[in-house]
């Protein structure tokens, strides 16, 4: 317990340092010649891009273009796959993600992730949200409750579930579950949100709710959104990258990319010639 407290205190100081840092920086995440392969298959080839703080950065591209892989590289979720190989660098606040001595747990806490399919653990709503903070060693009931409430509010879910926090999260509808996942990611108090096609299984209304939430959240987080709905990227993205066959074809302001793409493949994709 004492150790946990100490750690918490340490983490706190760390966050303060980061806040001062981010105010000056213009690049939050930056990939330099980043390649990724597992086995003999190359999934990503020489990716170069910069993601700025407090923007919604969307990644579009057809299936198997490497966009999800890229996202999962950012919080090193691909580590579990056998025989993976990274080349080049990805910098988070200037520090290499794959450098020596990186605490993967801490990294994943800083980059909260939401998966394509909403995964509500068979626990109560409260415990779903408290999972991450508890694993960081936060035990205090008051602090946990505050975190849970705050994240649920940020995900526009609080009003719908505040009376049944201790009921099973599996009883929520699909859209609610996905917002629960979003809230669960935010309960980690991350700096970046990684969203992997978060609306792929949802109806238009739920989708809109999530999109609204994202725009609202921009001020607090850097958001990276992978989507296969180009319209979604157009709606919410500040800047957009187009991935194809493991390569980044084009990256730029969303409006520009959608109206005057540099690369013919990009225009083919967004006009629906393939995809």
């Amino acid at each position: 317990m004492g150790f946990g407290l100490w750690l918490w205190a340490f983490g706190f100081e760390f966050t303060v340092a980061l806040v001062t840092d981010t105010q000056e920086q213009t690049v939050k995440i930056s990939a330099r010649d980043f390649s990724f392969s597992y086995g003999t298959q190359t999934a990503l080839r020489r990716i170069n891009l910069d993601i700025r703080p407090h923007e919604i950065f969307t990644i579009i591209g057809p299936a198997r273009s490497g966009k999800t892989t890229f996202l999962r590289c950012l919080n090193r979720m691909n580590d579990a796959i056998p025989n993976v190989r990274y080349e080049g660098q990805v910098l988070l606040d200037g520090a290499d993600l794959f450098g020596k001595g990186v605490d993967v747990s801490e990294l994943r806490r800083r980059l909260g992730m939401v998966f394509a399919m909403p995964v509500a653990l068979p626990k109560s709503i409260f415990n779903n949200l408290a999972l991450g903070p508890r694993m960081r060693g936060i035990r205090g009931k008051r602090r946990l409750s505050a975190l849970v409430e705050e994240s649920l509010k940020a995900a526009y879910l609080w009003d719908e579930v505040k009376d049944r926090l201790h009921e099973s999260a599996r009883n929520l509808s699909g859209g609610q579950q996905q917002r629960l996942c979003l809230a669960r990611a935010m309960a980690l108090e991350p700096e970046v949100l990684l969203l992997d096609e978060p609306c792929s299984g949802l109806d238009p209304i739920s989708t809109r709710k999530i999109e609204e939430a994202l725009v609202e959240l921009k001020s607090r987080y850097t958001i990276i959104l992978v989507t296969n709905v180009t319209a979604q990227a157009a709606r919410v993205g500040d800047r957009t990258a187009f991935f194809l066959m493991g390569e980044m074809i084009e990256c730029g302001a969303t409006e520009k990319l959608f109206t005057r793409p540099d690369d013919p493949r990009t225009s083919d994709y967004i006009t629906g010639k393939f995809g």
């Binding site: 150790f3 605490d103 694993m135």
Partner: protein, 287 residues
């Protein structure tokens, strides 16, 4: 902190997981060290190839018991497979979901009935029945009796595993067959049973291993005579029975011969196990 803990956990878990191997090794060493010398002294072929068992005169031949174990196991399957697989097919293909939800766990509960209770029921009902209606050399204590007792005993195992195997067959297979105009029975025999074949076979082999390994229930009903059986109505002794019967009084070579019986039993079970692995691996490969 978390990472260090994770680094400590892994080797600890590895040590725990290796326990089974270690235990197996120690068991093997203890059984073989006690059993092998007498086996080698008598000669392995003589030990497993002769059926003269006169331990006090130094004659150790366990062929009759090997045959006894195998015949009882085969008899068990003859009783248990039609009943068990039939019951499983009924449960998974024809019975209502609600009935299955009640019956399947109940049958699995029966897995917990001590084998001695089955033996007791055998002595009480099946032995007198066999004696009065069939007679024979075993006077009711015979292979058929033992097969019935063990057959009933392994039913829960076979039913449980077969139902699992049948239920694991994807619904689309059945739908495909039914869509072609096949009746439910045709679908079952031609599609479902074929697809679940190896799973059911694994259950049957496991049942057989249980039958070969069972001791007390068998001692109670099989008569334990050390002879080559000429008919299913003869009494036999099984390998397990031999150990349990004589262990209390055995000393010196006699005792070692009982450990050697254990060695033979172990080898037989390992062979069955390898067979199971082969069967299940083929299933995995196909899928």
């Amino acid at each position: 902190m978390n990472l260090t803990r994770d680094r400590v956990v892994s080797p600890i878990l590895f040590a725990i997981a290796s326990f089974s191997i270690t235990a197996l090794f120690v068991i093997g060493v203890f059984i073989f060290v006690e059993g092998l010398p007498v086996m080698l002294r008598v000669g392995v072929w003589k030990f497993i190839g002769s059926s003269e068992w006169l331990p006090l005169e130094g004659k150790f031949g366990i062929l009759a018991m090997i045959v006894g174990s195998i015949t009882v196991a085969v008899g068990t399957l003859v009783v248990a497979v039609p009943l068990g697989v039939g019951c499983a097919v009924y449960l998974s293909e024809f019975a209502s979901k609600r009935a299955v939800a009640i019956i399947k766990p109940s049958i699995e509960l029966l897995f917990a009935i001590p084998s001695v209770v089955y033996g007791f029921i055998g002595v009480l009902f099946i032995v007198p029945f066999m004696r009065e209606h069939f007679g024979g050399d075993g006077h009711g204590f015979n292979i058929v009796t033992a097969s019935f007792v063990l057959g009933i005993m392994v039913l829960p195992v076979i039913v449980g595993i077969s139902v699992d195997a049948l239920q694991a067959v994807p619904k689309v297979y059945r739908d495909g067959s039914l869509a072609l105009g096949a009746t439910q029975w045709q679908t079952t025999t031609m599609v479902t049973l074929k697809a679940a074949r190896s799973g059911i076979l694994a259950g049957v082999i496991l049942g057989m291993a249980n039958a070969i390994g069972e001791t007390m229930a068998v001692i109670m009903v099989v008569g334990n005579a050390v002879v080559m059986p000429n008919s299913p109505l003869d009494s036999v002794r099984t390998l397990t029975g031999n150990i349990a019967l004589e262990m209390g009084y055995a000393t010196g070579d006699h005792r070692q011969a009982l450990f050697a019986t254990g060695v033979v039993l172990l080898v037989m079970i390992m062979m069955l196990n390898t067979l199971t692995r082969y069967v299940t691996r083929k299933r995995v490969a196909r899928q």
